[in-house]
């Protein structure tokens, strides 16, 4: 339960020694309560108080790191129910199922194919990051085949603690998430996890049992947990997910303060339906979604959705300032300039590409604003854009003509631009990117 400033103040030394940088203990307590200070700054706080305070200031949903290398990810760590309240921090990890009955060769082929499912967008690499290795007798060999043939992180899935132990040892240093810990086996699974220092996922039969298991595993020394509530219908799995998020954030119940793993592949056999279920879970709080197989048609839509849902609403995504050649332009190809709002870039570059007209697209830093707002805010002014074209962009070395197309919404800057760019023709493009094809096909450079 979060403490108030006054409650925190009562746990501080009360000497007002200022070593923390605050003028008084009370001021420091207030800063702690609002998250503006860290407890470490006070050197004199007693151990007993420290324990109470750190327990109270722990995040309501514990962030747990899973996996290794480029595909490592965090589950949990969320602080809100709706993304507009702040942001969602840790994107839902997407994984495919590997049964340990497959031959090592088949596993190798599969994970190599999964590894190729990577997409570059707004400077980010979108990809599924996981293989869920399920079985018993061959678990270690199958898990080994995954990491030997791909950089995918691994979740182990077996109720047999012995199999989990062998596979965890085979994945030394790869930080797999292991489970399921159930009421029947949790002590044994905990022992494996404590020895190897890896996180555990637990599978309950309902929300009551979730608390039994999180308490039991905590007592057995495992703090890094991920919850499977056991729900296997589309309605129940979403409602459980919402119930958990609220239990952690609204009721502040520590027993439920963990991220989740969900299994669309155990809800339906149809891969297409699994995508529908996974989409509901990306929107509604799942930490991990598991599909029966991975393919571009299946993961690409979910990766886009995840990108959208987990983008920080307070910080627009931007495209790097610079020159973007589209359709192999040459020195006589038209030049277009627009703002660095990522969506603007995407839509404009997509339309230019679709037009098949070879073109140079210039992206000018406008602090992530769209054309209309950038222009209104003075971040896309005539002087500024003119200077950028002439001096910073480097486009003059690539073309023989002196024409540039500006977005229709920024038509008002053309006069100032022409002053800045003597001898140039500043053409006013369409307002909507959808009309670019027609425009470019008819446009002549001068």
């Amino acid at each position: 339960m979060a403490l108030t400033g006054i409650q925190i103040f009562k746990l501080l030394p009360g000497t007002n020694c200022k070593k923390c940088g605050s003028p008084t203990c009370l001021a420091f307590a207030m800063n702690l309560a609002s998250g503006k200070a860290e407890l470490e700054k006070c050197p004199d706080v007693s151990d007993e108080s420290r324990e109470k305070l750190s327990a109270a200031s722990a995040p309501p949903i514990r962030p747990v790191t899973v996996g290794y290398g480029d595909t490592a990810f965090k589950v949990g760590g969320e602080t809100v129910q709706y993304r507009h309240e702040k942001t969602f921090f840790n994107p839902t990890a997407i994984g495919g199922l590997i049964e340990d009955t497959l031959s090592p060769g088949d596993i190798a082929a599969k994970v190599k194919r999964w590894q190729a499912l990577q997409y570059n967008r707004v400077g980010l690499n979108l990809r599924p990051e996981l293989a869920i290795v399920k079985g018993g007798a061959n678990l270690a060999a199958a898990a080994k085949a995954v990491v030997d043939n791909s950089d995918l992180s691994v979740i182990l899935y077996s109720e047999d603690a012995g199999a989990l132990k062998a596979a965890t040892e085979a994945l030394a240093g790869k930080n797999p998430l292991i489970g399921p810990a159930t009421v029947a086996n949790y002590k044994d699974v905990a022992a494996v996890a404590v020895a190897a220092k890896v996180p555990v996922w637990l599978k309950a039969k309902d929300l009551d049992e979730v608390a039994v298991l999180t308490k039991g595993l905590n007592e057995a020394g495992v703090k890094d947990l991920v919850i499977d509530t056991g729900a296997r219908t589309p309605k129940k799995v979403v409602q459980d997910s919402v119930a958990l998020r609220r239990a952690a954030l609204v009721a502040q119940n520590r027993d439920y303060g963990y991220g989740t793993i969900t299994f669309p592949n155990e809800i339906t056999d149809s891969l297409a339906l699994q995508v529908a279920v996974a989409a509901s879970l990306v929107a509604k709080y799942a930490g991990i979604v598991v599909l029966s197989d991975l393919d571009g048609a299946v993961v690409f839509p979910l990766l886009l959705q995840r990108l959208n849902i987990f983008t920080d609403p307070q910080r627009p995504m931007t495209q790097t300032e610079g020159i973007y050649p589209i359709n192999d332009p040459d020195e006589n190809s038209p030049v277009l300039v627009t703002t660095n709002f990522s969506l603007t870039y995407f839509i404009v570059s997509g339309e230019v590409e679709a037009s098949r007209v070879p073109s140079w697209l210039l992206i000018k830093d406008s602090e992530g604003l769209s054309v209309l707002t950038a222009w209104a805010a003075g971040k896309f002014s005539g002087d500024d854009v003119g200077q950028f074209i002439l001096k910073r962009s480097g486009i003059v070395d690539k073309i023989k003509h002196k024409s540039v197309i500006i977005p229709g919404y920024a038509a008002a800057i053309s006069g100032d631009m022409e002053e800045e760019l003597p001898g140039w023709k500043v053409a006013i493009g369409p307002r909507e990117a959808a009309h670019l094809t027609k425009f470019l096909k008819e446009f002549k450079v001068e």
Partner: protein
């Protein structure tokens, strides 16, 4: 002690809005989407399919052209096909009237609407080209010609609400109020429309849907905030059901139109487009939509099945949905 989910108290609800002469009801939600453990949700989200008044020709997505083969170019036949595919509502897009393209006039728009109304017995949305003057011309004529049919006409913006709004009011139609991804602007437009005399239950909010990967998140959060205003703050200027024109946003993206062999890492083209549409539809369901206007019939089938199970509970069964082929990658 048994686990108890923390619940929210809602103070408002979405207007029940009857569409068409058939009076198919939308809205009525008194809780966030699918949260039936804390409020009543009387109507499932309705699904429309979008059709064109003309043959879309070359630029049209191949998977859509395949799905509607034999129906393209005749809005009556196309509308029938949409209903056969399970659409609750048909959305006729007046593409021919685009001034940047064929620039057809009101007479053609009326004729196309007539064909659709003659062909099907479901509510009909008549959607313009989001051009202020052109939409005034065509939608005003359509409102008058089909008096009393309770068509759903749009998009109406702050630029042309007076003209089209007055016609819709006079002839008993429902309007789609489109504002640019902003809660306050949505509210302002609703107020303007209601000041004209249009009843609160004759308006749908169109938040200007962005495509998956192309700005969907803005629309998603605006919708969540609209829902919060309507249900938690009981703001009666924002209690209209939300409509999302999502199919078109999906199928115009580059990725929905790339051939399988050109980008094997993106998988089978048909499945990819369908699942992009499904993924956005499911996102918008959870953001609070009441009416999804989709393009591909397979997406509609999958989303329908999802809505049914997400609402009624029970297992999600494969009813012969598209089998996603696994695309080999060299």
């Amino acid at each position: 002690m048994a686990f108890q989910v923390s619940t929210i108290k809602y103070s408002g609800k979405i207007n029940v809005t009857p569409l068409g002469a058939q009076k198919i009801e939308l809205g009525g939600q008194a809780a966030f989407p699918f949260y039936d453990f804390e409020g009543s949700l009387p109507h499932k989200t309705k699904l429309a399919l979008q059709i064109w008044d003309i043959d879309p020709g070359e630029g049209y997505s191949a998977p859509l052209a395949e799905a509607y083969k034999g129906a393209l170019g005749d809005p009556g036949t196309w509308a029938k096909k949409a209903v056969e595919y399970g659409a609750d509502i048909v959305c006729l897009c007046l593409k021919s009237t685009d001034p940047n393209d064929q620039n057809a006039g009101a007479a053609e728009a009326v004729a196309a609407t007539q064909k659709v109304l003659d062909a099907v017995d479901v509510p009909v949305i008549v959607f313009g080209v989001d051009n202020k003057d052109k939409d005034i011309e065509t939608l005003s004529a359509i409102c008058e010609k089909f008096a009393g049919k309770n068509l759903i006409v749009g998009p109406i913006t702050d630029k042309n609400y007076k003209q089209i709004g007055a016609q819709a009011l006079a002839y008993g139609h429902t309007v789609i109020a489109r504002s640019p991804i902003d809660v306050n602007l949505a509210k302002q437009l609703n107020i303007l429309l209601m000041d004209l005399g249009i009843k609160a239950d004759k308006i749908l909010i169109d938040p200007n849907t962005g495509g998956l990967g192309y700005g969907m998140e803005y629309c998603y959060s605006v919708m969540e905030r609209l829902q919060a205003a309507a249900l938690l703050q009981a703001d009666d200027k924002l209690q209209q059901p939300i409509i999302n024109m999502l199919g078109e946003e999906i199928w115009k993206t580059k990725e929905a139109n790339q051939k399988t062999e050109d980008v094997p890492t993106l998988g089978d083209q048909v499945s990819r487009g369908v699942l992009m549409e499904v993924t956005e539809a499911v996102s918008l369901l959870f953001a609070g939509t009441s009416l999804l206007v989709m393009s591909h019939p397979e997406s509609l089938k999958i989303v329908r099945s999802f809505i049914d199970k997400e609402t009624d509970g029970g297992d999600l069964k494969d009813e012969g949905f598209i089998k996603v082929p696994i695309t080999p990658i060299a």
